[in-house]
Amino acid sequence: MSPLLHVKNVETYYGNIRALGGVDVMVEPGEIVCMIGANGAGKSTLMMTICGSPQARTGSVIFDGQDITRMPTHEIARLRIAQSPEGRRIFPRMTVYENLQMGASLDNLKYFNEDIEKIFTLFPRLKERQSQRGGTLSGGEQQMLSIGRALMARPKLLLLDEPSLGLAPLIVKGIFAAIKKLNEEEGLTVFLVEQNAFAALKLSHRGYVMVNGQVTMSGGGRELLANPEVRAAYLEGGHH
């Protein structure tokens, strides 16, 4: 089986500053894969590089057998790569409902009614808030909306950038349970980056560790959890 996503030796720059220095990542269909690493390691840059914004300077990004390295961002999205990006990026002056409609714009709302019910079952809070403006939601609600909006695109690959950031532990648990459920029941492929290494590794089939724009370690989720170096760097001193 060929991987769904293959990031090959990618280097990304902001001006002259190298943010990614030769990253290799592979995600098989049906997998949950995570990338853990400290603040500023380049995790979000990797997510955005996959979506072509910014584009990789060298190396290539292959999705479903197709080279998408030089494709414009909106065309990459049309291949069904959906991202819940860093900072959540909810449209603040659109209602929750409209934000979800934006997520479904690829199919011109063809499956909208069917899919929105699924999202509302997954995140009942969004149903209560559907006519509220996105900018007025709490952080946790925005996170749910951001993930819900990405799911509305019927993605082949779901990219999640720090789904746990700034959320109460109970909400993190709920969101991670929802991701697991989607993966098990619908075979959704997920690639997430996280600072919350413990929760992310527990959820994932495989994981990578990123330090200063480079992948330093990779392995099974449980395997990395047990690894002394990972434990020392990311897990000891409490689960953030």
Binding site: A77, P85, F91, R93, L106
Partner: protein, 300 residues
């Protein structure tokens, strides 16, 4: 009282025209954060397109019904102005997107000068009159309302309704609002941002062209400098209403129309522009974002 109501009607007519132009300023500002200073000249161009179509129609088909003539003028003007504005965005603004903020602004001023000079060269510097298209006058309770005024107000109302519907209820409008609020996120959701921006320029130009046609019908004359004063007034309207806000643009336009005609009626016609700008200054002191503008604070 009758005199006052009469001035209200006059002001509303003028305000409708300003409002239609102001929408183009405010939409472009909303979506890419620049003031398209060439927009007033797009309005003037639309008025000239309507004028040329009028001359062609009357010389080719004498006795063509006025309604049909106006409709054809309006549609051709909309298409041409849309094409012009699309071209301007494509060749003059898009390459500068992402450079420092003043660059597109200066280019827009350059474009404005280029357009009005172009019309001056190809159409001549003199006023171009047309015979009155619509003549009837109605007397309602002592107030004289011309059919022209009714046409302008009705056309404005209809177009604004269509426009409101597009922006608020269609996928295109959603894409425009999404692009306005977060361009990068819109792209991540599969929205072709460049295309959405182009369409916004075309839509704004089309409205300005309708305003140009109405202006030509109302005053019966076009001249290459027409882009400047009405353009600045409409820009003022957009700022007064709150730049970036569509209802604000219409409200600002109508307010400026009313201020102008009431001031001219009761005080001095020579100082009407002064009055307009004084009120703008006063509003901006107390409400810097304009009447319906939103404060730039968002909950994160």
């Amino acid at each position: 009282m009758v005199y006052f109501v009469q001035q209200l009607v006059n002001g509303l007519t003028l305000g409708s025209i300003y409002g239609m132009i102001a929408i183009g300023y405010t939409m472009v500002y909303g979506i890419i954060g620049m003031i398209n200073f060439a927009h007033g000249d797009i309005f003037m161009l639309g008025s000239f397109a309507a004028l040329i179509v009028f001359l062609l129609l009357t010389s080719l088909f004498a006795g063509i019904p006025v309604v049909l003539a106006l409709l054809v003028m309006m549609i051709v003007a909309m298409l041409l102005a849309g094409l012009w504005n699309w071209t301007i965005e494509r060749i003059a603004y898009r390459p500068l997107r992402g450079s420092f903020r003043l660059a597109p602004l200066i280019t827009a001023i350059g474009m404005s000068i280029a357009l009005s000079n172009f019309i001056q060269v190809v159409q001549g510097p003199r006023n171009k009159p047309i015979p009155p298209l619509v003549n009837s006058n109605f007397q309602v309770l002592g107030i004289s309302i011309s059919l022209k005024q009714i046409v302008i107000i009705v056309v404005t109302a209809v177009l604004l309704t269509i426009f409101w519907y597009i922006v608020n209820k269609t996928p295109l409008g959603r894409a425009q609002r999404a692009t306005e609020q977060d361009r990068k996120m819109a792209a991540l959701l599969g929205i072709d941002v460049d295309r959405t921006i182009s369409i916004t320029f075309i839509m704004g130009a089309a409205l300005a062209a309708v305003a140009g046609t109405m202006y030509l019908m109302y005053y019966g004359v076009s001249v290459f400098t027409d882009g400047f004063i009405p353009g600045v007034k409409a820009f003022t309207a957009a700022v007064l209403g709150g730049i970036g806000s569509l209802p604000g643009a219409v409200l600002g336009g109508i307010l400026i129309g009313l201020i102008e005609s009431l001031w001219s009626a009761y005080f001095s016609i020579a100082y009407k522009d002064v009055a307009t700008f004084v009120i703008l200054a006063v509003v901006l002191i107390f409400k810097p974002t304009g009447i319906l503008g939103r404060p730039e604070v968002e909950k994160v």
